[in-house]
Structure formats: C-alpha cells, structure tokens
Symmetry: C2
Subunit: 198 residues, 2 copies
C-alpha cells in the first residue's frame, strides 16, 4: 500500500505526489493520457489493435449496499500498480507499455516509474513480449517510444532521470497527429517487429 497521487487533482498533495501529477498532465491542451486513450480507441474501432488501459488498482475496504440502489464503495485506497498501465494484442504480438508525461525539458524523472513496473517489463521481455515506454515532453512538444531495454538499463544504474539525449538516441521519435493522436503502432511495425531497431 502506498501514498498514491490522485488523478482527481486534489490540492493537499505533497512532495512526490505533486511531482507525479506534474508528469501525468499536460499544462494546456489535451493530456497525453487522453490522447493515448483516443488512440487506442481509434485502433480498436479500425480493427488495428486491441489495447486497453488497466483500471487503477484500488484496495476496497468497505462497501455500502443501500436498498434499491447500486453498491457504493465508501472506503478504499489507491494501491501501487504491479504492472504497466497499457497492454494488449497487435497482429498476434503482445504489447505492453507505460506512458509518462513531463513538463521538464532535460529529461524524464525516473520517479515516474516504480521498481515493480521495471520488474514486470523484464518479465515481459523474457516472454518475448513487446515492451516499451511512451514518453511525452509537453513543453518541448516531443514524444518518444523508448524500448524497455533502455529503461531497464537506466534503472539498474540508479539514474534519477532519463536524459533527453539518451531518449533521442535509444528511442524513436513520434509525430503526434489527429487520427490517431499518438501513432505508436507505426514505430512498432517498422522498428520493433520490422527488424530496423537501433
């Protein structure tokens, strides 16, 4: 159980929570998460891939059952995710990824990732799954697909942040569009399946 940042935008967050909420939302315009949800729903509608965001893990402690109305959860807590947020299937391939957004210009703070998620990525790679992170720099207006191997390396070496130069070198730049907003399947098709990897 952890102190988990709110996605509902509470005011009383401190320290770590505020860092995470900074990276979860764009300052203006559509959040990266929303763009990704749109993208996944576009891919689903077009029959191109089946990718879903996992529900936020919640530990439910108390539920009320008012007569004639639906069950109401009255006490629950956020739990730390043990996997990445997104997974699904594309042409028989298993895809698994995490998406993060920051306003910083020099790198992506690694506080945004938890050790459990990195372990999970390692396990997915061992099973020949396709695993990566989508990193959005809202101020720079740059977005990258970074293969999990590079992220795992940075974690092993205890970096505090993924420098933008490292991401540019090891990752693939994504041009955000309209339909879909975040066309990550093209990168996967060309570089992660197609064999043109860095």
């Amino acid at each position: 159980m952890v102190q988990y940042p709110s996605k509902l935008g509470g005011r009383r967050q401190t320290g770590r929570a505020s860092i995470q909420s900074e990276s979860n939302f764009a300052n203006r315009g559509m959040s990266f998460e929303k763009m990704l949800n749109e993208t996944n729903s576009y891919y689903l509608t077009k029959g191109r891939a089946v990718i879903h965001k996992k529900p936020t893990p919640v530990q439910i402690v108390r539920v009320d059952y008012p007569q004639r109305s639906r069950a109401k959860i009255v006490e629950a807590y956020f739990r730390q995710a043990s996997t990445t947020d997104y997974s699904g299937v594309y042409k028989g391939y298993y895809l698994d990824f995490e998406a993060k957004e920051t306003r910083q210009k020099t790198g992506m703070p690694l506080k945004n990732f938890h050790a459990h998620q990195i372990d999970h990525m390692r396990q997915v790679l061992e099973q020949d799954g396709i695993c990566f992170a989508l990193l959005h720099f809202s101020t720079l207006q740059e977005t990258f697909l970074l293969p999990a191997e590079a992220l795992i390396q940075s974690f092993q070496e205890n970096w505090k942040s993924l420098p933008i130069e490292f991401i540019r070198e090891k990752g693939y730049s994504l041009s955000l569009g309209a339909f879909p907003s975040v066309p990550y399947l093209e990168i996967i098709e060309e570089h992660l399946i197609g064999g043109n990897s860095k």
Copy 2:
C-alpha cells in the same frame, strides 16, 4: 455504470448479484479465483508466463486527503468490465481469458458473461490473440478450458447457459493439481498452439 456484485460478500445483494456471487466463489475450500491467482503467480515465479488479473474497474467520485496520511477514496462505484479479467504473455503469444465458477451441475449460466466481454473476445481473436474461458464446476469437481469461439457462438444464439455436454465437447478438461493449481498452459501448449485443436 452497473449494479455490480460485491466481492466482499455483502448481505444485502439481490437477484442478479447473488447469482454472480454464487458463481464467483466455491462453497468450500479455495475459490477458483484464488487457485488461478496462485497458478499465475507460480507461472510468473517459474518464468513460464506473465499473466495478471486486471484490477476491478472502479469509478472514483470523491477522495479525501487527510493531512499526513494517504489519500482515502470515500465515494466510488463498481463499473462493468469492458474486457476479460486475465491477460498476459506466454512465449510471445498474447493470452486473454475470463474465469468463472458455478455450483450448478448441468451448465454454466451465461449471465456470468457480459456482452462487452464477448465483443472483446471477438476483437482479440481478430488480432490473432489466444482467447478462452476457464470454467470451474465446483460441485462436479470438473474444470475446462473453453476456446472463445464456442463461447461467442453460444452468445450469438442467445443461449441462457452453456450445457455441460457442450463444454465437454468443445472444451478441454483440466485436472486441478497443486503446483500449479490450474495447469492451463499445458492445454494451450498442446491444443491452442500445438495444432491439436478440436
């Protein structure tokens, strides 16, 4: 948004909810869900597959942020799942399944599955994912892996229940064990990948 059965065992459930809770838990011994969780954790530890149960989808309405303590969710509701409960990767293959348990002896009530889940299964098959249901009959002490195609067929034809004879014919019988409790990977290896399908 739906009236969702509680997994915490509330007393005031009515109608549909009580049917579902009947099928979610074994009367005695370990629930099928628990056996599956153990199985998945065994597979994970042994490096055989990475399969996780998705968190219960919850619509969070109100969160309190008490000073110096973790965020507390004080109003939330169960939402209907739009996908199946389990998914993951095995030797590069995408696996996706739902697990259901019943005390009935003649069949598995189809009320246990939602239209959204069946749509999801159809989409997964179109992407060449491996999709199925694990069905446990606690009174009969019989367990089956039923490929999604058979489940989709029964839904299209508006059946109320999957007759046990139909499951025996279209599905694969599983012998429950100890390590792992529900050895479903063997069925997948032999019949769903190996080409010995019914």
